[in-house]
Each structure stands twice: as C-alpha cells, then as structure tokens.
Symmetry: none
Amino acid sequence: MITMNGRNILVVEDEKKIAEIVKAYLEKEDFRVTVAERGEKALAVLKEGFALIILDLMLPDMAGEDICRAIRKDFDVPIIMLTAKSDEDDRVRGLGIGADDYMVKPFSPRELVARVKALLRRVKGSKDVLSFNGSDLVLDSTRFEVRKKASPVVLTPTEFKLLQCLAERPGQVFTRLQLVNVILGYDFEGYDRTIDAHVKNIRHKIEDNQRKPSYLKTVYGIGYKFTGLPDED
Amino acid sequence: MITMNGRNILVVEDEKKIAEIVKAYLEKEDFRVTVAERGEKALAVLKEGFALIILDLMLPDMAGEDICRAIRKDFDVPIIMLTAKSDEDDRVRGLGIGADDYMVKPFSPRELVARVKALLRRVKGSKDVLSFNGSDLVLDSTRFEVRKKASPVVLTPTEFKLLQCLAERPGQVFTRLQLVNVILGYDFEGYDRTIDAHVKNIRHKIEDNQRKPSYLKTVYGIGYKFTGLPDED
DNA sequence: AAAAAATATGAATAATTTATGAAAATAACG
DNA sequence: CGTTATTTTCATAAATTATTCATATTTTTT
C-alpha cells in the first residue's frame, strides 16, 4: 500500500473551469493540487501519493465509479465524489463504490474545502464508521451497513441516508423539511410526513422498544434528532 | 467594515417574477427582503446592512461580477450568485469572483431558502447558543434545548420560542401583544393572556423560585422581560 | 387600609402533532 | 412484462401541547 502525502490533493474533473476554481480554493488553504482531466491520467498519477481525491462521477473516458473502484483496489485514500444530480448520490452510496463523501453540483467551493478538511481530519483518526453507545449501534458508511449489538440490520437506502444524516450530528434537531432536502433532494415534490414513515421503520429495526426510542428521538413540534448516548436527552 | 443585519437579505434581480417569488419564500421564513432591480440601486442600498445578498449574474445595467467585486470591496457579506441556464461559464464565473455559493436557474425556491440558511449558519460560525449568568442558563437553538446548570430542560415549542424571543434581547420589555405577534403569528386570533400561561410554565421549569423569578420577570402593567444577570433588575 | 387593577395559577377543554398500520404508487429486478 | 421491494400517502388512534377560564394572589392607586 502506497503512502499518502500530507497535503496533496488530486482533482479528477474534466470541466476545466470547475477544476480551476476548486484548485484555486484549495491552494488558498495551502493544499497542493494536481488536476487530471481524464480517468486514465488520474490512474497514471496515482502512485505519486495523495492525501485525498476529488472525483467527478461523470468523465469522458471512464465512469467515475470504475475509477473509484480502481483506486480503491490499490490505495486507501479518501475520496469525495462529485455528482451532477441528487439522484446520482444513490448510486454512489448504494453500489458500494466506497466514496467517503460526495457533493451534488452545484456546490459551494467553501463547502468543498470544509469537507476536504473534515474528511482529512476524520480519516486520520480512522475509517468511516460511526459508533454509538459503546459499539452497541454501528453505522458503516463504506459498507452501507448498520449493526445492532454486532448483528447486522438491513436498512433500505432511504432509511440509511436518514439515519446517517441524523447520526452524523448527534443532538442536533432536524426539521422534516431539512431532512427531505438532504435525503430526498431539493426537488422532491412530495409530502413532509413521509419522513415519519421512515422514522417508524428505522425505529422498528434499531430500537429495542419502539415506543420509547433511545436513539432516534422525536422533538415535538420541530422534527427529529439522534442521540448517541441513549440515556441522555 | 459595516455591520450586517440579522435577517435582512438583499435580492438583486431584474426579473420581477423571480424576485417576487424569492422574496415571498424568504419572507415566509421570517427574513426581511429588499429587492433591487438594478446594480446601481443595489450598491446604493448596501450600507443599510444585509446579512446576505442574492445576486443575479445577469443584470441590465452592470455585470454581476462587477457588482460582486464592488460589494466585496467594502462589505464582508456572504453572496449567493444566480446564474442563467446551465451555462458552465456563468457558473464558473460566479465562483471565481468570490461568491460563496451559486445556483443555476431554474432553481427550486426551497433549495434557495435552504442554501440561504445553510450559508448564514456557516458564516455565523454556527453559534446559535445564548448563555447567561455564567452558563448557568443556556439556550441552544440548533439543539432546540435549554440547559439549566448543565442539565437539560425540556420546553415545548411555544415555550422555547417565547424564551428565545425574550432572551435575545435581555432587559427589553415586550408587551403581550408583541410576544403574541412574534411567537404565535400576526394572524393569531386568540387571547393575549395565553402568554401568561406560557410564562408560568417556563418559570416552573427554569426558575429556582417561581414566586421570585430571576430570569423571566414581570413588568407590571406592560409585559415581560428577560434578565441575563439575575441580580440586576 | 380598602378598592381597583393586573398578574399568577391550576384545571378543564380544545387544538395540534405524532405514531401507526395498511393501501396505493413507484421503482428495481429478473 | 410480471414480480418484488421500496417509497409514499392516507386514515385514524394516541400523545402532547395550547388555550381558556375561574379563582387566588399580588401590586398599584386612592
């Protein structure tokens, strides 16, 4: 396995302008940036060693997911995937491609920088696994899998995204609208309350007592929140 | 550098229809919106102070990027750029100039509102926490939670809003009518005195001695006020 | 100190909000 | 194309909160 290099970032993006902007923003933060316009080139420079890779899902020569898998085969490097539409993130998450994070275009460059930093911080610590209540509940984003007291729990894609969204920020309260925006996309035309149904189903799968949930809690009049330490409020 | 104003948003957009829709959506979320149809006017009202600016890249009198630069020269205010169609160049231009985020038309107004909020949160440093009497009493808006001497106090939504409204301006006296307008909405048809009931319930939860409240004080003949330093009047 | 005015309080009732099971619509898959 | 899994909607039950009201208490005025 090849060593990764401190502040080197590889940007795989064929839209030159976007690549440039991303480069500019990252360099302003003291990262060194290499741009590859094609998947082929990306794979060629890989062995230079990068701390992180930003990868467009749509490239002229190869599918982003293939590149991602190719990278993952030999390198243990965090990847942020760029997708054009909100429904593509399903593919990113669902297919076990193994991206560590993803952003839907159009994205704010500041947010990208923030995520790069966050991801580097996270990765340095360990992998992409959220663990709660002393490993009683584990959310493994790279494997798209949840484990409850060590035994696997099967969540549907929407359920997983919902739980993940909440679990990433324990204690923070999300309104149904916020959750819809994040999980179903800004263009979702349906009803707020569909969130309730998913919450119910998730609770059924991860809570000991569905009537008295210890993880996924209701905040009356506002929305929902996740609590990592079931006892606390 | 000029101070920015809490919930004031400037929309610079010449297409009246779009401006109106944006305005309506933002006002529904309790923002105060000023619309400028031309760049010239935008620059003129700038000193009123805005928390955020939404700027169309294409304007009749001046290029959006010039306005953007002009704004940035004197104001440190977050900017969301609106660009027409999915013209890549425009998109990219917006970012290069130093917009914080951008959206491609046609966009969903819901998404715009969500991005506005996200950007404000990000810029503010996500400090939605009010702290009083040396952290004896803490109001945390993102967690929708009040803590009294470090232990959580559960307030109902109305109670929370009421307390928040008062606590945001310690010392300022609010009439019941003002409170009703802010908390229950201008269209509330009920009785003033419902506020009293909420005050009672809040006091029950946060005051040591409900008969001699140290935070939530009555101003006889007028209304109520919040005092951050319990000793002072 | 008594009367008047305003606020506090507890309890009853009304109104909202959430949970839930099942049906209908959609998407995914072979 | 039919079959299955998933997502969404819907109707209703259950839970929680908001409002009102009658009465007690406090504050102000005279």
